[in-house]
């Protein structure tokens, strides 16, 4: 993602560019983390479903 993508055009001001970089980096990290935890929750649900099915089968 470049500056234009987030609404900033180059101005030559290093602080503004650095700000844009910080925001971009933060967004990428949050997105990645969210993805990881969504996956973990999915896996947790699958684990519980499998356990229950296994227990039912064993009991039968």
């Amino acid at each position: 993602m470049n500056d234009a993508d987030i609404g900033i055009k180059p101005t030559g001001q290093p602080e503004m560019l650095e700000l844009a970089r910080i925001v971009t980096e933060r967004k990428a990290k949050l997105d990645a983390l969210t993805k990881v935890y969504k996956e973990k929750i999915k896996e947790l649900a699958i684990k519980h479903i499998k356990n229950d099915l296994f227990n039912n089968r064993t009991n039968q």
Binding site: T11, I22, K27, L33, K38, I41, L44, H48
Partner: protein, 594 residues
């Protein structure tokens, strides 16, 4: 002006008109629009939700609370501006350098919005997964609880990411100013201003101090992980040499101060109660139980001893470089006192102040604190381990005359009576590390434990319990309710304070018996005496003199078995005759049972 900075073409006046007309947000939402008021309000509600979920983690909760406060301010500001049309008139006078602080503010707001989006996404995943489980016709009672923990993990990590970026942004704005107080001066003055308030418990001060030290370190080393850095760690002085003196001075202040605690206010009590309730609710430990009192039979006791043998029973007192960062391995000094390194003389001086000449009880102490018992410099007056389930204790412990092991349950109904018969003093310190009430299974045992703590504590004494959990037993809710009822009782009493601190990965609970009335006036003098808690009546001692109380060792081999009871001998030797009366500060045993 907030938000919607238009374009950042600022070099020439000829662009100004265009800049005003082209309303392009600096940090837009996913559709490229300015973050709307509605979106900010939604973000605020997500922050409030996150704060609620982090109630058992005060630091995490504070992080979301601060973010919420910031958003409330932003929403208020925006509503005012929308009504005044202030935005346009300000825009005309903006230059690049003037934009930076506002841009930074906008960047912080957008961080909260992004964070809220993540929280919402993860929350929706949980709801979706629950629906899937329901559709599959499956019974998954533990899912919700485990998912909640995942959500909390997410909140912690996501919050850290946004906090990191906020710090970078702050630092950037600071650089842009090129004036005012330097970071170094600012950090140093915040450390110098770090003086414990007169009524602030040492532990709360340490918790606050460690948080400030960590944030200063982070400001100076933004890319480095904090990794448990704290005021008392010599490594901090190495990392921040410019603050070396201040760091040690602050720790030294703590060592030399005398706490002057007053009864906590009802508002403070409500907050603590709420946090305790949240922490208990969130605890989900699947623990081995300690059975009930009395145990049914010897087989049951043997089974429990065998179970506990699989747990870590040999935690040390002092932190060292080898201390594993495992939930059940936090050294006592860290989890109960907030000291993460005892390498500096200042940290040792603080621990010495807390321990020297005190009568200490370990509740379910297992085979722990051997290093403290062997320490030549920091000497407690006595250390008594109440643990009916310890399978073996290291021989070094028995070599210390101040140590003894008593095979009694901390939640035993007759505990106080037994201690009285054994001529043991009331407690200046009670330490429960990974033991009770975590392993207790029944509400009545939990209630009894807290009654025992209340009665056993000497004025000025402190009980430290880590982690703040109750056993699940058959009815977790009943256990929780029993614990909370006793906490309320303590809070309503004029003689006790209850407070929390976070020094390890869970909360530590402190129950402090206050110095009251005449005993308070005499506190300073009493502190100079070598023993503040030894209040056994001379006459009671006389009654049992000559009898060497038996070690209770049912089912457990205890190394101290058969050794002379040196603590008792010392008490007898030193105790001068006193009038017979049971007053506050003695082991208060109801007349009917005494």
């Amino acid at each position: 002006m907030r938000g919607g900075f238009k374009e950042v073409y600022l070099e020439s006046d000829s662009r100004k008109a265009e800049r005003i007309e082209v309303r392009k947000p600096l940090f837009p939402n996913s559709s490229g629009d300015e973050v709307s008021l509605a979106s900010l309000e939604k973000t605020l509600s997500m922050m409030e939700r996150a704060e609620g979920m982090m109630a058992s983690n005060p630091r995490g909760a504070a992080m979301f609370r601060e973010r919420g406060d910031f958003l409330r301010e932003e929403i208020k500001k925006r509503r005012t501006e929308d009504g005044t049309g202030k935005e346009t008139s300000q825009a005309e006078s903006e230059t690049g350098s003037e934009l930076l602080p506002e841009a930074a503010r906008e960047a912080s707001v957008s961080g909260s919005v992004d964070l809220a989006k993540g929280i919402e996404d993860v929350g929706n995943s949980v709801v979706g997964a629950e629906k899937s489980i329901e559709r599959a016709g499956v019974v998954a009672p533990g899912f919700k609880e485990e998912a909640r923990f995942l959500e909390k993990d997410f909140l912690t990590q996501a919050g850290e990411i946004v906090a990191d970026s906020d710090q970078k942004i702050e630092s950037l704005v600071g650089r842009g100013k090129q004036e005012g107080v330097s970071e170094e001066q600012e950090a140093k003055s915040s450390l110098e201003a770090l003086v414990p308030a007169p009524e602030e418990p040492d532990e709360k001060f340490l918790e606050r101090a460690n948080s400030i030290v960590s944030s200063i370190h982070k400001r100076h080393n933004p890319t480095e992980k904090r990794n448990g850095l704290a005021l008392d760690k010599p490594v901090m002085a190495e990392k921040l040499p410019q603050f070396q003196e201040t760091l040690y001075d602050t720790m030294a202040k703590l060592s030399s101060r005398q706490e002057s605690l007053k009864k906590m206010t009802p508002t403070e009590n409500v907050e603590v109660y709420k946090n305790i309730e949240e922490a208990l609710t969130a605890s989900r430990r699947e623990v081995y139980g300690a059975g009930s009192d009395p145990l049914v039979n010897q087989e049951e006791r043997d089974a429990i001893i065998k179970q506990f043998a699989h747990t870590n029973q040999s935690r040390e007192f002092f932190p060292n470089n080898d201390s594993r960062v495992r939930k059940d391995a936090f050294p006592y000094a860290q989890s109960l006192f907030g000291v993460r390194s005892a390498d500096s003389p200042e940290a040792r001086a603080f621990l010495k102040k807390k321990i020297e000449s005190k009568n200490i009880y370990l509740f379910g102490g297992g085979d722990s604190v051997v290093d403290l018992i062997a320490d030549k410099e920091i000497r407690a007056r006595s250390i008594t381990n109440l643990d009916p389930f310890v399978s073996v204790e290291r021989v070094e412990k028995g070599q210390n005359p101040g140590y003894q092991s008593v095979g009694e349950r901390a939640d035993g109904k007759d505990l106080l009576k037994t201690l009285k018969e054994r001529m043991l003093p009331s407690a200046d310190e009670i330490w429960a590390s990974m033991s009770v009430p975590m392993y207790l299974e029944r509400p009545e045992d939990i209630s009894q434990l807290l009654d025992n703590i209340k009665e056993l504590l000497a004025p000025g004494g402190t009980a430290r319990i880590y982690p703040l959990e109750v056993g699940r037993g058959q009815d977790f809710e009943a256990n929780k309710a029993a614990f909370l009822a006793k906490i309320k009782e303590l809070q309503e009493s004029e003689d006790y304070n209850v407070y929390l601190a976070k020094f390890a990965d869970h909360l530590t609970l402190f129950i402090k018996r206050l110095q009251t009335g005449a005993s308070k006036e005499g506190a300073a003098e009493s502190d100079k005496q070598e023993n503040t808690g030894d209040v056994i009546d001379a006459e009671i001692i006389e009654d049992v003199r000559g009898g060497n109380p038996k070690q209770v060792t049912d089912g457990a081999k205890q190394i101290t078995e058969g050794q002379p009871d040196v603590v008792d001998a010392e008490i007898i030797e030193e105790e001068k005759p006193k009038p017979k009366q049971i007053t506050k500060g003695k082991i208060a045993i109801p007349e009917s049972t005494g």
